[in-house]
């Protein structure tokens, strides 16, 4: 276990999440992708904290990231609901009226 290893795993999680965010049509699935990206960030933050700067503020960072993830997801559900209510869809591809 080393910093490099942790970071590579984090990068993999991040990349997988990015794939999901880019490829999924259903809003909730996109959100899952984003969550995976946050997952990667979390892991990276934890790795950085332990291997490079084990100060208390690093733990606060983790906490903030967790909180951010939570609130963003909450908003995601709300937006998905809104979309569903107003447009009867849960897919991003069904919301492409505004362009150019």
């Amino acid at each position: 276990m080393s910093l490099d290893a942790v970071l590579v795993v984090a990068a993999a999680l991040f990349a997988v999440g990015l794939y999901g965010a880019l490829s999924q049509q259903v809003v909730v699935m996109v959100m899952m992708g984003l969550e995976l990206m946050v997952n990667g960030v979390l892991l990276a933050a934890a790795g950085f904290w332990w291997f490079m700067a084990p100060a208390p503020s690093g733990q606060v960072l983790l906490l903030v990231v967790l909180a951010a993830m939570t609130v963003e997801m909450a908003m995601g559900f709300a937006v998905a609901t809104l979309l569903h209510r107003r447009r009867q869809t849960d897919m991003t591809d069904m919301a492409e009226d505004l362009s150019r």
Partner: protein, 477 residues
């Protein structure tokens, strides 16, 4: 050191006032009958006025930091607070016509105030963690504001805003994580000390990640995509707000970050210059053939972010950089509000061509629009002119002469599409064209707001001198 360790919560008085105002509007609003929600509006306005007063009085204090150096209270923060509060106040003016007595009126005001609080926090943050928190506080209510209005397209706008925001928030956190690791802590003072010795590539990744989040808030390239869509899709109030207020905090934050990180190394300045150029060109060119006035304005704000990023490229190199940024922010805010307010006053006119002959039916509104658009072009002596002049000067002074050239070139490009809008306004109306609503009624609030903002835009330009004197102060670290 001792001073910076203290909490000094009183220094955050404006933020606290706005937040408490938001809570008051939220809770009080739930007891108000639908048609008497104007009371909530008044409460919100009072909170903003009080915050403005507090911010102004704080401007007379020397620059200092609060909460152990995590929040800077200096000229930049002060000016950002004032602009945020005043611009939000003007947005309330627009809202008074558009969403008065709608079921979500008071909720919207509460969200506006929450977001304004977040913008202020963003502007003053001198700690990466506070920056994240401020980003969230500024973003999350914004999704609500965008989604509340606009029906079908409003939902789409909210979705796009949300997804862009979530992604950029993640990138922001990634960047913060990297920078934290490199510096060993999230405080700006620490960043400034340690980053110059850190591996350049890692610093780059971190800084660009943080910039990604801030650019989303500012609506700059490459995180601008949501801006035109949201401006067009949502309601007038929300469009006015989202193109005006978040930029204030975001750009001050960008400046703070760049100023902190770029000591002794100018890659970041160059990046800022590139981003500025990209925003200017993309925003202006894309605005060329828009037919929806609000979408056009949305693109124009993308371009304006480019102009606003110009002084960032001169951070630390020119004494003009910070004052010109702050001045431009103030000028931009009032001018942009004026333009959006005109569209809010004519909600049914969603084509540029529909504005034909406006000057005969509504000369006042036409004049306000003219001032706003000429202002955005940068015609003297309107305020944005002074902003453009000083930012371009700062860029040149800071060693980026070509950026000044880009500013001029883009002003020319922008003239073209603004002309596409206001040329019909002054032309003879076609037979059988859609008429214009008579003055009065609900739409008189946005019209009046447009007038006030236009006058403010002119006054800011003419009275640039005294204001400028107030802007020349160092950043607190």
């Amino acid at each position: 050191m001792e001073a910076s360790m203290r909490m000094l919560p009183a220094l955050l008085l404006p933020e606290i006032i706005v937040f408490i105002g938001a809570l008051a509007v939220l809770l009080g609003g739930s007891f108000l009958p639908r048609r008497r929600q104007w009371i909530a509006r008044i409460v919100a306005a009072l909170a903003l006025l009080a915050a403005t007063a507090a911010a102004v009085s704080a401007m007379f204090e020397p620059a200092q930091t609060a909460f152990s150096g995590t929040f800077a209270v200096d000229t930049a923060t002060g000016m950002a607070r004032i602009v945020t509060a005043v611009a939000t106040l003007l947005v309330l003016g627009v809202a008074s016509g558009e969403i008065a007595a709608s079921p979500r009126e008071s909720d919207t005001y509460a969200l506006l105030l929450f977001a304004a609080t977040g913008v202020m926090v963003l502007a003053g943050a001198s700690d990466l963690l506070v920056l994240i928190a401020g980003f969230l506080l500024a973003s999350i209510p914004l999704y609500g504001i965008v989604g509340l209005a606009g029906g079908r397209s409003g939902a789409e706008a909210a979705l796009k805003t949300y997804l862009m925001g979530a992604l950029s928030g993640i990138l922001l956190m990634l960047g913060v994580t990297v920078l934290y690791a490199l510096a060993g802590g999230p405080g700006y003072a620490l960043l400034g000390e340690t980053l110059p010795d850190a591996p350049g590539a890692a610093v780059g990744a971190g800084v660009l990640g943080v910039l990604a989040g801030l650019l989303f808030k500012a609506g700059g390239v490459p995180f601008h995509f949501w801006v035109p869509d949201a401006s067009q899709g949502t309601g007038g109030t929300a469009a006015t707000f989202l193109t005006t207020v978040p930029k204030v905090g975001a750009l001050v934050a960008v400046y703070r970050l760049v100023d902190t990180v770029s000591t002794g190394e100018d890659t970041l300045l160059f990046v800022a210059a590139i981003l500025a150029t990209a925003s200017m060109f993309l925003g202006n060119l894309a605005a060329f053939w828009q037919t929806d006035p609000r979408r056009l304005l949305g693109w124009s704000t993308v371009a304006q972010v480019g102009f606003l990023l110009v002084p960032v490229a001169a951070a630390g190199r020119s004494g003009l950089a910070l004052p010109s940024l702050l001045f431009y922010l103030a000028a931009y805010a009032v001018t942009n509000v004026a333009a959006f307010a005109v569209t809010a006053a004519l909600p049914r006119h969603q084509e540029l061509a529909a504005y034909r002959g406006l000057v005969r039916a509504r000369p006042g509104l036409a004049l306000a629009l003219l001032v706003a658009l000429l202002g955005l072009v940068g015609t003297p002596p309107l305020a944005v002119f002074v902003g453009k002049l000083t930012t371009a000067t700062a860029a040149w002074d800071g060693g980026y002469g070509w950026l000044a050239l880009a500013v001029m070139l883009n002003s020319l490009l922008s003239l073209f599409y603004y002309l596409r809008w206001f040329a019909p306004v002054f032309a003879r109306p076609h037979q059988g064209a859609m008429g214009f609503p008579q003055p009065g009624g609900a739409a008189s609030w946005p019209a009046a707001t447009a007038g006030v903002a236009a006058v403010a835009s002119l006054a800011l330009g003419l009275l640039a001198g005294p204001l400028w004197a107030a802007l020349e102060g160092p950043l607190a670290m």
